[in-house]
């Protein structure tokens, strides 16, 4: 967002997320939008072979996520998803990392059994489509 569309699009995404999860369930991290820190999944990092450096880089992001206390982190970008998921895995799965499309379809009640790879046990069976 910082590099391309800027904060207005970051606000659009917040509108989407708040609509699907409910305003009361959305917790922004700090800092956020253009002041936010990169998670470290981009720029070729994931393929660079510098795994320890990538995880050290990502520790700032991990601390931000942990500070929210949120159970789920929504990552609309692919590289972010892979990196944030990895950062969680090396912290004994401290949070779940989901694509935006997963949480939209869950809220719409159209998320099937095989589309729930990244949901935690708390949501694995919720609003299952098709209904049993």
């Amino acid at each position: 967002m910082r590099k391309s569309f800027g904060d207005p699009v970051a606000d659009d995404l917040r509108f989407v997320v708040k609509t699907v999860v409910g305003e009361e369930n959305f917790i922004d991290m700090a800092p956020n939008k253009s002041n936010n820190y990169c998670c470290g999944g981009g720029g070729g990092y994931l393929q660079s072979g510098y795994t320890d450096a990538r995880r050290a880089y990502g520790s700032l992001k991990a601390e931000q996520i942990l500070a929210t206390g949120a159970a789920y982190c929504i990552t609309p970008c692919h590289n972010c998803h892979a990196q944030v998921h990895d950062l969680s895995e090396i912290r004994e799965h401290a949070w779940q990392t989901v694509h935006l499309w997963t949480i939209i379809c869950l809220a719409l009640g159209i998320l099937g059994e095989n589309e729930r790879e990244y949901l935690g046990d708390d949501l694995k069976e919720v609003l299952m489509y098709p209904a049993e």
Partner: protein, 241 residues
């Protein structure tokens, strides 16, 4: 009398070269040494480096050091340093050009291999998925969902639909390793009635030649993808990356 001032003898060929390439010289001469860049950079401290230090070393002509530190691959070029810089100095561009000083075959193998793989076919897939592979996976997954989920019996995942409004690309990871993850997006596009298509050519969203700092092949991949979108006469190219 204090110590005499340090005499700078090194002349940075590297930084001068980058300055010539960037609009306004990337403002590379304007550093106030405030450190706002480094204080908010997640790569600060890795390899004993940080953005301010890197820029100062370039300004001091320490070309050998900045063209050999692996730190250039540990910066994700997120541009937060530019965002907070009072002088808007383009440090990420300096780093990108430092990546280019590495002999191509000595750049990180994973990035190099992904770039080279993408160059092997018009799909641009860094995982080597072919046009046939992609078509098979999309059609196979679609028919499975059309059958299993009644509300989506009419859902389509068009391939090479000429004149569609949106050309959608897809990270190779999904068709290759987790094809079910393509489906939620199809469902959303179906429900909103979007007129979209995949292309068997140029469908792979990733571009590792960009990260490799291989300009020629970065451009080649972008052009291959643009051609795929234009050949199908699509109006909007939707990049899911």
């Amino acid at each position: 009398m204090g110590e005499p001032a340090i005499k700078i003898t090194g002349k940075s060929v590297f930084m001068d070269k980058v300055k010539d390439l960037l609009p306004e010289g990337g403002n590379l001469n304007l550093c106030l040494t405030c450190g706002a860049c480094s204080s908010g950079c997640p790569a600060t401290g890795l390899e004993g480096m940080d953005p301010r230090k890197f820029l100062r070393m370039a300004a001091l002509g320490m070309d050998e050091e900045i063209s050999s530190t692996p730190w250039v691959w540990m910066c994700s070029m997120c541009t937060r340093c530019v965002y907070v810089c009072p002088m808007k100095i383009n440090i990420p561009q300096l780093i990108f050009h430092a990546r280019k000083t590495w002999p191509r075959d000595q750049r990180p193998k994973g990035i190099l291999g992904s770039c080279d793989m993408a160059l092997r076919s018009d799909t641009c897939s860094a995982m080597g998925a072919t046009e046939e592979d992609f078509q098979f996976v999309v059609e196979d997954v679609l028919s499975e969902y059309q059958e299993a989920q009644p509300e989506f019996a009419e859902m389509q995942a068009p391939l090479n639909k000429v004149g569609a409004e949106f050309y959608l690309n897809q990270n190779s990871r999904e068709p290759v390793t987790e094809p079910d993850e393509m489906v939620p997006l199809w469902k959303i596009l179906h429900l909103v009635g979007a007129d979209w298509t995949y292309g068997t050519k140029g469908w792979a969203a990733e571009n590792y030649c960009l990260f490799l700092a291989d300009d020629e092949n970065w451009e080649k991949i972008v052009r291959t993808k643009v051609k795929a979108v234009e050949d199908l006469k699509c109006k909007v190219w939707l990049n899911t990356e």
